[in-house]
């Protein structure tokens, strides 16, 4: 039996509709077996294989930080067959969880640095894990700037944290933008990459982390370059189709690197050495 | 669970067109005509909707026989769907036999909405014929 591919049975504890439109839901999940739950220790930025028995598996980033209890959270966009069926699930449903997989963010190397997080849409999910981790260990890190954009005010994920929790933390600023406003929206309107340049974050002593749709990442990376960030100061994540999560099925490689094991977190310096097959 | 030889009854999957054959089956029911209860009816818009893949899928999932039932030629609700179906199942019937499925596992019949009696008769005849053939094991999915 291929033990690494056998998931832990877990129970959905809570489901939260993030956008009101039902396209992104955050699932709070507990692994049933107490020993397995205690043994599941992830680093921020790592992923897990979430499965519905009978439908299949998909790799989802763990959006809860390791600093907050044994329950795991996954913010999942309804994008395909398995995620579509997950969206139909209700609390109490049994699912499969295996992992954690991947390298996660190199948070230990960030001590004393200023942090700039730039996210778009569902791309905030992996960032949320590392943001909350850093806030839970606030004294280890410098100033934190969180830049986030979504298509509309309604599409902003994790609204409570964005609007209330994070802005009230020490030395922490949240900058929000939307592609299109609505009647109530008072904040900036525009795309994330241009918005980052308007904010003009200082490059010196700063780690810039970005995650979002591929086109946004591409433009944000260009913006970082114009702002004077060096390649090794810039961190992003890759998303490829994955099946095993353990570096064996031969699928998610970008050049010699397997995203499930060597990624999903890469510095821009590392990415530049890889073929652009992602 | 064990099923004795005596009590075995063939499972029939019947693809019935919405406009004629399904109405025929309905009429058989409302007329309280007796026919074997082992038939599983799947309503389709037209016999022309029945993809030959449906037949093999039914055998894979446990059917002992498959019935495709549609409107009589000339009576199709969509004018010609059953004519195309007729060609398709002329070919598919022979092809299934070529693959080694016994003749008599796939039946095609025209049953109109007023032919409740015919529906019941076809199911009775088919059931009896399948009982003589015995359970189908060919193409059957096994345990994993």
């Amino acid at each position: 039996m291929y033990r690494a591919l056998v998931p832990h049975v877990a129970t959905i504890q809570d489901i939260k509709d993030e956008t009101g439109a039902g396209d992104v839901k955050t699932f709070t999940v507990a692994i049933d077996d107490a020993e397995a739950a205690a043994g599941f220790r992830h680093r921020p930025g790592q992923c897990a294989m979430v499965s519905l028995f009978g439908a299949g598996e998909c790799m989802i980033s763990i959006t809860s930080p390791p600093t907050r209890g044994p329950q795991l959270q996954f913010a999942i966009k309804n994008a395909g067959r398995v995620t579509g069926l997950l969206h139909e699930a209700e609390p109490g449903q049994k699912i499969g969880i295996r992992g954690p997989y991947g390298n996660g963010f190199p948070v230990d190397a960030w001590h004393g640095q200023r942090l700039l997080f730039v996210g778009g849409g569902i791309g905030l999910a992996p960032l949320r894990s590392v943001i909350n981790y850093c806030l839970d260990k606030r004294e280890l890190f410098g100033d934190i700037d969180i830049v986030y954009g979504a298509r509309s005010p309604q599409d902003l994920c994790f609204k409570e944290e964005l609007l209330e929790v994070w802005p009230s933390q020490p030395r922490t600023r949240v900058h929000l933008t939307v592609d299109r406003g609505d009647g109530q929206w008072q904040g900036p309107v525009g795309f994330v990459p241009a918005f980052v340049e308007e904010i003009r974050p200082a490059a010196g002593g700063t780690i810039a982390v970005t995650c979002g749709p591929p086109i946004m990442i591409k433009l944000v990376l260009a913006a970082f370059e114009r702002l004077g960030f060096a390649d090794d100061q810039v961190i992003t994540t890759l998303e490829l189709k994955m099946q095993c999560g353990v570096g064996k099925c031969g699928r998610c490689n970008v050049g010699p690197k397997y995203v499930c094991q060597d990624g999903p977190v890469f510095s821009l310096a590392e990415l530049r050495r890889l073929p652009a097959e992602y | 669970m064990s099923v004795g030889e005596q009590s075995w009854k063939p499972t029939i999957v019947a693809f019935c067109c919405n406009w004629c054959s399904y109405a025929g089956a309905d009429l058989a029911g409302t007329s309280r005509l007796q026919y074997p209860a082992t038939v599983r009816i799947i309503r389709v818009p037209c016999s022309g909707r029945v993809n030959p893949q449906f037949i093999v899928r039914a055998f894979q999932r446990g059917a002992d026989g498959v019935l495709v039932a549609g409107c009589h030629p000339g009576d199709c609700h969509y004018s010609t769907g059953n004519y195309y179906a007729r060609r398709r199942f002329l070919l598919a019937t022979r092809f299934l036999e070529y693959l080694g499925i016994e003749p008599g596992r796939l039946w095609v019949r025209w049953i109109s909405g007023s032919e409740g009696h015919k529906f019941a008769t076809v199911i009775k005849e088919m059931s009896a014929a399948l009982e003589r053939l015995g359970p189908n094991v060919k193409l059957r999915e096994g345990a994993l």
Binding site: - | Q53, R57, Q60, G74, R94, F95, G142
Partner: protein
């Protein structure tokens, strides 16, 4: 050396000099005695064109990829089966006939290279010479009888001479034969259980590599039902019922459109007699629907039309 080859090269050279021409698909010499598909884009490449018994005969399907996203004209070298394959793609609206420049050439059968290698050793060259083949293998030259080493599918070829070409070269070498349905008939004569055992034994070897589909000129769907995950008609499972579903579906989907090029069976890496499925359907189509030649693409294919008086033998 074939007499018309120079004339063919000259013609292709001219064709490639014309404006609006994208590519000419033919064969060039490969290694180990092979002749492999070649995609010529410049006139000077025409001198590298070859066509011998080692050319495998599956050029038509390349038209799909070559025509995608471009608008220019495409030249294709075509023997009988390749010409039929091109007609198939045109009838199925996969490429406009006007974009194709079909260059017909005669065929005297394709060599079964594995068989040649098994008896003569590593191949260096296979040439046509009159009615014989000259084979250089294992350092020696052999004069061989084509009928001994011809691909099985070529033995009863009904269309060795290409039809509906823009131009053709050479003269017919083989006369058309009638498809030999004796293997189909022999299988039909078996009891159902033996027939089932025969096919299951074949299907069990299937790797699901999809080579039979990929090479088939009648399999040109943009999205293949066999790839669908939802609903999983085939899915990924590899069990006998799934293998049977695969072959049953593939054969029925090309029924009435198969041109009997035999490539599906030729490319199968595990020797499944795929064409035997196609031929059964073709023979029944001929018999049931009064189709004269079931392998020649017609205006509307036999399963796309009907007659009110069609038989009802299943009643």
């Amino acid at each position: 050396m074939t007499a018309w080859l120079d004339a063919l090269r000259d013609h292709v050279r001219e064709f490639l000099s014309e404006p609006g021409v994208d590519v000419f698909i033919g064969y060039r010499a490969g290694r180990r005695g092979r002749e492999v598909p070649a995609f010529l884009t410049r006139p000077e490449q025409a001198s590298g064109l070859v066509l011998g018994p080692a050319a495998s005969g599956a050029l038509a399907k390349y038209v799909l990829e070559e025509a995608a996203g471009t608008t220019g004209r495409l030249g294709v070298l075509a023997r009988g089966c390749e010409a039929l394959s091109l007609q198939r793609l045109v009838r199925d609206l996969r490429v406009e006939r006007e974009r194709l420049h079909v260059v017909g050439v005669p065929c005297a059968g394709v060599a079964d290279l594995a068989k040649l290698e098994a008896s003569l050793g590593a191949l260096e060259k296979v040439e046509s010479c009159g009615e014989r083949w000259l084979v250089t293998a294992g350092g020696n030259r052999h004069d061989v009888d084509p009928s001994q080493f011809m691909e099985e599918r070529c033995r009863d070829c009904a269309s060795p001479w290409p039809q509906q070409c823009n131009i053709s070269f050479g003269q017919a070498v083989m006369s058309p034969a009638s498809p030999d349905y004796s293997t189909v008939a022999a299988l039909e004569a078996l009891p159902a259980d033996e027939r089932y055992a025969f096919w299951i034994r074949q299907f069990e070897r299937c790797l699901r590599c999809f080579a039979c589909r990929q090479v088939c000129p009648a399999c040109s769907c943009v999205e293949c039902s066999l790839d669908l995950v939802d609903p999983p008609w085939l899915g990924r499972e590899i069990t006998v019922p799934a293998q049977a579903m695969f072959h049953y579906t593939r054969a029925l989907h090309v029924a009435g459109r198969c041109v009997d090029c035999g490539q599906c069976q030729k490319v199968c890496p595990v020797g499944i007699p795929v064409a035997l499925l196609n031929r059964k359907l073709a023979r029944d189509i001929q018999e049931l629907f009064d189709v004269q030649n079931p392998f020649v693409p017609g205006e509307i294919e036999p399963l796309g039309k009907f007659r009110a008086e069609d038989r009802e033998e299943f009643m």
